[in-house]
Amino acid sequence: MITIKNLHASIDGKEILKGLNLEVPAGQVHAIMGPNGAGKSTLASVLAGREDYEVTDGTVDFDGVDLLELSTEDRAREGMFLAFQYPVEIPGVSNVNFLRTALNEIREYKGQEAISAKDFMAMVREKSAIVELDAKLASRAVNEGFSGGEKKRNEIFQMAMLEPKLAILDETDSGLDIDALRIVANGVNKLRSEKNATIVITHYQRLLDYIVPDVVHVLYNGRIVKSGPKELALELEEKGYDWIKAEQEAK
C-alpha cells in the first residue's frame, strides 16, 4: 500500500527524518513506536502533506502513485487519512456539512457523482454506530465543545465515512480513558480489511492490546531502527528505549 524509501525531511532547516524506510502492505496494521522527538508525528505530517515540512530526499509510493508529487488535498482524495492527535475545531460548520463537502470532493476527484442527501444520511447513521457516536454530535459543529474522547471518536467516524486506503492514527490513544480507548479501537478494527492498511503511531503498548499490529517498528532519531512482531511492543513497554539507544550508539 505504501512504500517509503530513504525519506529525509526537515522543518526550519532542522532535519527530523534522516533516511526513513518503511513498507506497509494492504491488509496490515503497522505500529510505530519510539521515544519523544524521534520523528513520529513528523512522519505523519510529511505523509499527509503539511507545508511546514520540506522533503529533501527519498520517495514515497502510495498504491502506485508518487505521493510526494501530490497536493495535500489530492493525497486525501487518493485515500490517505490522518487521524489527528489534536483534532481542530471549526466553529459554525456542522460535522455533516463538513463531511458531505469532503466526501463529495473525493467523489468528484474519482469521477463519481455527488452523494444524495438521503444516502449520505443513511451512511452517517451506519458509520456513527461504529464508534458509538451520538447522532447529535454529527450535527454539531466540527469538534466544537467536544470532549477529548469525543474528538478522537469523531476522527474515527470521519475515517469510517471517507473509507481511506491508508489511515494514519497519530497518537489516537492520548488523552483517552479506558472505555473511550476500547470504543476507538473497536471502531478501527471494524474498519480493517484486506484492501486497506493502517499505521498506528503510539507511545504506549496499551493501545496495541486492542488494535493488534502485524508489525511493530521502532522509530529513533529519524529512522526505523528495529522492526518485529507484536511482542516487540511488550518488550519496549518493559525495558523502555534505552537499550535501543545504546544499540544505535554502538553502531
Partner: protein, 481 residues
C-alpha cells in the same frame, strides 16, 4: 438547503468583481456641481411640490455650514462635492406602464445582476424595485400588493401619489440636521424606495430594492422610507452593485424605518458596491445613514452583509422609543485589499423593557482595515432595558487590522448590558484539517468563514443567504496569508 457547493466552485472561477460592467444607456444628466440652481433643477425634473423643494433648500443651507466627519477609523481623499453629477437618469420619454415597456438594455442589465424580473415574478415571489443611478426604473408586483393596501413604489412616485404619508414621516427618524451626509442627501436625493404596510397587514412577500450606480462621475443619493403601521409586518431586502471605475464614486443614502405599535420590520442588505481594484484604486465611498424607530412592542431587525465599497461608513440603528420594543443588528463586514469599513450600530433605549441584540462579525483580509463601532445608550426612563452585544473579528493576514469601538452610556441602574468580543486569526491548522479531508483550499475558507458568520447568515431570507455565502467566498478568494 439547496447548498451551493458546485455552484460555488463555478462562481469561484469567476472571482473578479463580476458586476463591473457598464450599461450603454443614454442618460439625462444635470451639470456637475452643487448649488441652489442644481437643487431647483432636480426638484423641477421630478415635478416636486413646493414643500419638498423647501425641504431640500433648507437641508442644503444646513449642509453648507457643516463639516465632514473625521472621527471614523478610515482614511480617504475627501470627495470634491463640486465635481459630482447629482442627477443622472436613464433617458426615457415616459414612465414605464408595464414590464414590456422597459428598455431592452435595461432588462439586460437586470438580467446580468441576476434580477430578471420576469424570472422573479414567475419563480420567487419577490417584489422588486430597481433603482439605476438616480431613478427608479421598474417596480414589480405592484398591483398584487395594492390589493392589500400595501404601497411599494419609487420615492418620487410616493411623493406624487401619497404626499401625506411621505410628508408625515420623511425626516422624522433621520432629521436633515443629523449629520453631514444625511444633510447632503436631504438636499440632493433623487429617488429611492417607499413602502407602507397598512395596519394589521402582514406583507406576503419579500420586498426588494436593487440599487445600481451606472454613470461615471455621478453620486447616488437615494432615500428609502419604510413605514409599518400598527401590527404590520414586512421583510425588506436591499442589494447594491456598481461598475468598475478608476474613480471613487460617492453613495450617500438615507434609510428610515418606522415601526408603529406592535409592528415588525426586517431589513436585510447585501452590499456589494465596487470595492476598488487590488491596489486600492477606485471604488465606492459608501456613507450611509440608516435608522429605525420602534413604537410600543415594535421590533426592527437589521441584517447586513457588507462585502463591497472602498470605504464604508454606516451604522444601522434603532431608536427603541416605545415600551417593550426590540432592536436587532446582525452584521457581517468583509474587507479585502485596501478596503476600509467603519460600521456598527446604535441602540437607543428610551422605553421600558426594551431589548437589543448586536451580533457583529468582521472579517479582514489583505491590507484592509475593519472597525466595529457601536453605541448602546440606556436613557433614564428605560427601566429594565437589556442589551447583548457580541463583536467578533477574524483576521486572514498579518497586514490587515480589526478594531472595536464599543460605547456604552447607561443612565438607568436597572439595565442589564452584556458585551462579548473575540479576535481570532483564521487558522492554518483549520485549513490543513480541511485539506487533509480532501477539501480544496477555496472551499475550506468558504466553509470556515460561513461557519464563523452563521448566526448572521441565518437571519437572511433563503435566496439572499445563498447569494451572501457566494459573495463571501468570492470576496475572500486567495486571501489567506
Amino acid at each position: 438547503m439547496g447548498y451551493t457547493e458546485n455552484e460555488l466552485a463555478k462562481d469561484l472561477e469567476n472571482q473578479e468583481y463580476k458586476f463591473g460592467f457598464v450599461t450603454n444607456i443614454e442618460s439625462d444628466k444635470a451639470p456637475k456641481g452643487l448649488n441652489e440652481g442644481i437643487i431647483r433643477f432636480i426638484s423641477a425634473k421630478k415635478e416636486e411640490p413646493e414643500w419638498l423643494l423647501d425641504f431640500r433648500l433648507k437641508a442644503f443651507a444646513l449642509w453648507k455650514e457643516m463639516t465632514e466627519p473625521e472621527w471614523a477609523h478610515v482614511h480617504y481623499e475627501k470627495p470634491d462635492f463640486q465635481d459630482i453629477t447629482y442627477y443622472s437618469a436613464p433617458k426615457q420619454t415616459k414612465k414605464y406602464e408595464s414590464w414590456d415597456d422597459v428598455d431592452p438594455e435595461m432588462k439586460e442589465t437586470m438580467a446580468k445582476l441576476g434580477i430578471s424580473m420576469e424570472e422573479q415574478q414567475r419563480l420567487t415571489g419577490v417584489a422588486v424595485d430597481f433603482v439605476m443611478d438616480s431613478v427608479s426604473v421598474a417596480t414589480s408586483f405592484k398591483s398584487k400588493l395594492a390589493e392589500l393596501g400595501i404601497v411599494f413604489c419609487s420615492f418620487s412616485e410616493a411623493v406624487k401619489e401619497h404626499p401625506e404619508l411621505v410628508r408625515k414621516y420623511m425626516g422624522t427618524v433621520v432629521p436633515m440636521t443629523d449629520n453631514f451626509y444625511a444633510a447632503l442627501n436631504s438636499a440632493v436625493f433623487t429617488d429611492g424606495s417607499f413602502c407602507y404596510i397598512p395596519s394589521g397587514v402582514r406583507c406576503p412577500m419579500e420586498l426588494s430594492t436593487y440599487f445600481r450606480i451606472n454613470e461615471g462621475g455621478t453620486g447616488q443619493f437615494e432615500r428609502t422610507l419604510v413605514v409599518a403601521d400598527q401590527g404590520a409586518y414586512v421583510s425588506y431586502l436591499e442589494g447594491c452593485t456598481a461598475p468598475q471605475r478608476d474613480e471613487n464614486q460617492l453613495h450617500a443614502a438615507v434609510v428610515e424605518l418606522i415601526a408603529l405599535d406592535d409592528a415588525e420590520i426586517k431589513y436585510s442588505t447585501v452590499q456589494n458596491w465596487y470595492p476598488g481594484d487590488k491596489e486600492g484604486k477606485g471604488g465606492i465611498y459608501n456613507f450611509v445613514t440608516k435608522r429605525g424607530l420602534c413604537e410600543r412592542n415594535a421590533k426592527i431587525s437589521w441584517t447586513q452583509v457588507e462585502t463591497g465599497s472602498a470605504v464604508t461608513w454606516k451604522y444601522p440603528s434603532c431608536v427603541l422609543k416605545g415600551d417593550n420594543s426590540i432592536g436587532e443588528f446582525y452584521s457581517v463586514a468583509v474587507t479585502n485589499n485596501y478596503q476600509q469599513a467603519d460600521t456598527g450600530t446604535k441602540m437607543i433605549h428610551l422605553g421600558k423593557n426594551t431589548k437589543s441584540t448586536i451580533i457583529s462579525k468582521g472579517i479582514s483580509a489583505g491590507k484592509s482595515q475593519n472597525s466595529y463601532r457601536g453605541l448602546v445608550q440606556i436613557h433614564k426612563n428605560a427601566d429594565n432595558a437589556r442589551n447583548f452585544s457580541q463583536c467578533d473579528s477574524l483576521l486572514m493576514t498579518d497586514e490587515c487590522g480589526a478594531h472595536t469601538f464599543p460605547y456604552i452610556e447607561c443612565k438607568n441602574s436597572s439595565a442589564k448590558i452584556e458585551h462579548e468580543a473575540t479576535t481570532s486569526k483564521i487558522g492554518e491548522d483549520q485549513i490543513f484539517y480541511c485539506l487533509q479531508r480532501g477539501i480544496s483550499e477555496e472551499k475550506a475558507i468558504s466553509l470556515i468563514v460561513n461557519g464563523y458568520c452563521k448566526e448572521v447568515l441565518n437571519q437572511l431570507p433563503m435566496e439572499f443567504a445563498v447569494e451572501a455565502q457566494k459573495l463571501l467566498a468570492i470576496s475572500l478568494e486567495g486571501s489567506v496569508g
